[in-house]
Symmetry: C2
Subunit: 502 residues, 2 copies
């Protein structure tokens, strides 16, 4: 008998159920690699899909998908009635690609040592911390900025996506208005007027690819190099990174239990041109700016030509009390640029945020710059989102999230009271997706974070949000993304860490 | 009998089948508007869906979808057995939203007249032309940059999208690596090595939100304010806009039938720090840079620390001759930044392009800056695209497009030969999606464009691409997006225009 009778099994295929790559792809890659490196040879008969499914523990459908791919690419031949075989000849082109790949793997073009990046942004880039997108196999407490993916309405979102793709026509494949899909701007305007007290209409709303891009546009249009800007300390790191990148000089403003200390800022930095502020819910320690402070800030802005960037990043997530209307809604002189996002209430990978600009002239300047930055935000996500809001799913989802997050917050507060009140001081934030806790006594923070990490806990330190003096050390405890059972276990594990270091 | 017996029909509902809004939405809006403005009154009985379908000429399913929406939002009540009625009470909140909308429509916050945009980019913004995204109801010949939407594989794309959304899990909802989805970077690396002779691996590929963003990152990292850069004249307007925005000084380089005149550039602007170049297919007039010129350019770049930005925007669309390997593939000193995009070969609304950086240090700097600009490119489109390439659809689509575009190009060339050879000179471009034609004798260009517009023709002028002297006037004739019959009619109509002005 020839080669085709070789009895083979596939012990070399490693399936990792926790890996990010789909199972069919792992299987496909495993078999393909085996063919290319000679473990499987031309004309070898492959085991039946059923057997492979048993051997690797994946469903037979998955095996079939992997096989179809291998057949399509010419690695495997299916001979009717007698099963699947490694192809007698592997496609020459593929072999070449593989050879090239081997040859070029990690190989870099030798670089002229005198060659340096010379752009204007190179020097400043060294001084800013780029946003670190947390990429993890699983979400770990007490990671922040992590919505409750476990209750996200996948089914609805997929259904709307399918409809959008089914009715996609040539108009939606071409370039759109750089300001974004108009119907989306209309539903956002409705939402903001009713729920956030924002003064707006669709014509002044600019769709952007996330809050980060909104901040870039603000920096480009509102900040000249050397301009000073007010920045909460601790405050939103990514905002500071952007404003610094574009040449702004940050002025650290302390944070009280009511948010940014406006009086301090006015006293110390009267010449600032811009203020970055999160009045609904100070980022990261919480606190809501009271009406009197808002009016004082607006009056100062009016009289001193101060731009106010209101980042209303998670204002939809308020669990008690009336939602606080936006700062923008109180503005009578067009000094507020309002930014909102869907990353927090839906999911971060959805790169859709929006800005409300005070008038058409400013809107047009922002729109031109948006076009220069990336022409437009990806369209299909905008179409899906429009339907998601229009058909009522968005508000339903918000209501549901509020209920779930509030329960998770209460659970966290109870557990903290029971297990960590000796070590941490905290107050009920009534809003948002995380809680800020300060250490009651000095701790070896590096050691604490390491101990926590060993127990599978992510403990974002307030140090990372601070750029002036780190005089109120503490940590953030994200709760929104974690079921209550997980929160309970995590708090108890954290309590063990604290006892170990004290 | 009460109000509910009022016999109503819906003559006020206007359905426009050519409008961009879905039919169900038009119907929904029509009925909602009628309720809000009092044409339909509380408790009015609505006609049966079947009757509305007949009256408006849309399918009954569409009517049902519109009704479901109205019921969900509380405008319509469905009473089992007796049909649908206008709600006795319209939801107060909705009414309020509508009132607010009426009140605030177009209203802007009064602006302090002394208030000016003060950012660094405001002055330069006045000197650059922002990309104009052409938004049209239908595509008109001879618009450029318009792929053949009529043969785009919607069904496949939708199927892949549905699968991506079905298997979306929490890992794909969170933040990803700022450099992009790794499996996509892998398939792009394979594609570029095999088809474009690019030296690369996935670790040096950065996914960006369109070529525009790639250019922004280049400007930010490679160009200091005041730096001179080589720019084809005529050349790609959006590249010039970005480099100018970030303070670069453009040096116009004439274009020969073989692309950028490298010798001219070296002679006239030896101190330039950066060159924007489209060597595979000069944008917009065509022409391919010969090997000798490529080597001369690379040697100059190596010896004079010149960055080369290679925009390989439509190199996959070559109809005759061997595809020309990229400039980057010949580079031995890491002076080339390679940019490619899916906008041209798939569709512009897909905001996915990629850069190949020469080494890890430069890659990391670009990645940090990408994160600062918008954290990451929208993920779901990346997932769909990965499958589209991996499963062979991309290459199949490319093959198909090449055949179709070549036929359309031949048709255009034949028609031009027959009808316009007295007026226009042109050569077979052998590649791309449009053809550049120069006027044989001076024409009143403004009048020509107006006459063409009157006949429903879009005639992009070379003037728009020119920034030095406009000494070889002409127009671009996009053909990729138009069936041959449309091309034939358009050429004949254009011939009439030429005869009218000569």
């Amino acid at each position: 008998m020839g080669r085709s009778s070789r009895q083979i099994s596939l012990p070399f295929i490693k399936i990792d159920r926790r890996a990010r790559r789909p199972l069919y792809e792992q299987l496909y890659e495993g078999i393909r690699a085996a063919i290319l490196n000679g473990v499987l040879r031309p004309n070898d008969r492959l085991p039946a899909t059923r057997l492979i499914a048993e051997e690797t523990g994946v469903s037979r459908n998955i095996v079939v998908i992997a096989f179809e791919q291998l057949v399509m690419e010419g690695y495997v031949q299916s001979r009717s009635g007698s099963g699947s075989f490694v192809a007698a000849e592997i496609p020459a082109r593929m072999e070449k690609a593989v050879r090239d790949k081997r040859g070029s793997d990690k190989k870099e073009i030798p670089r002229d040592p005198s060659r340096r990046l010379s752009g204007h942004f190179v020097q400043t880039l060294e001084h800013v911390v780029s946003p670190r997108n947390t990429v993890r196999e699983e979400s770990l407490p007490f990671q922040t900025g992590q919505p409750a993916f476990d209750v996200f309405p996948f089914a609805v979102w997929s259904k709307l996506a399918a409809r959008v793709y089914r009715y996609l026509d040539f108009q939606h494949l071409g370039y759109e208005d750089a300001a974004g899909h108009y119907p989306l701007r209309e539903v956002i305007a409705d939402h903001l007027r009713v729920n956030r007290g924002v003064q707006c209409d669709a014509d002044r709303i600019l769709i952007v690819s996330g809050t980060q891009q909104a901040l870039v546009l603000c920096a480009q249009l509102l900040l000249a190099p050397g301009d000073r800007y007010w920045m909460d300390d601790p405050g939103y790191v990514n905002a500071r990174a952007v404003f610094t990148l574009f040449g702004g000089e940050p002025c650290p403003v302390p944070v009280t239990s009511e948010g940014m200390d406006i009086d301090f800022a006015i006293r110390h930095y009267p010449d600032a041109r811009l203020a970055f502020i999160t009045p609904s819910h100070q980022n990261p320690v919480g606190g809501t700016l009271p009406l009197a402070q808002r009016l004082r800030l607006l009056a100062w802005a009016r009289d001193h030509r101060l731009w106010l960037i209101e980042d209303d990043y998670d204002s939809e997530l308020r669990y008690r009390g009336k939602p606080i209307p936006s700062l923008q809604g109180l503005d009578t002189h067009g000094n507020v640029i309002y930014i909102g996002t869907f990353s927090k209430v839906l999911f971060p990978a959805l790169r859709v945020a929006y800005m409300v600009l005070p008038d058409q002239e400013i809107f047009q300047a922002f729109k031109s710059l948006k076009a220069l930055n990336d022409r437009q935000t990806a369209l299909t996500d905008q179409l899906i989102l429009t339907d998601f809001i229009k058909e009522g799913y968005f508000h339903r989802h918000l209501r549901k999230m509020r209920g779930i997050y509030n329960s998770r917050l209460q659970c966290l507060l109870n557990e903290l009271d029971t297990h960590l009140s000796d070590f941490l001081s905290f107050t009920d934030p009534s809003a948002g997706m995380h809680l800020a806790a300060h250490f009651r006594q000095p701790v070896d923070e590096a050691r604490l974070l390491q101990l926590a990490a060993d127990k599978g806990l992510v403990l974002p330190s307030l140090r990372e949000y601070t750029f002036g003096s780190y005089d109120r050390p503490g940590v953030l405890l994200g709760y929104a993304g974690f079921p209550e059972e997980k929160i309970r276990k995590a708090v108890r594990a954290l309590a063990v860490c604290f006892r170990q270091i004290s």
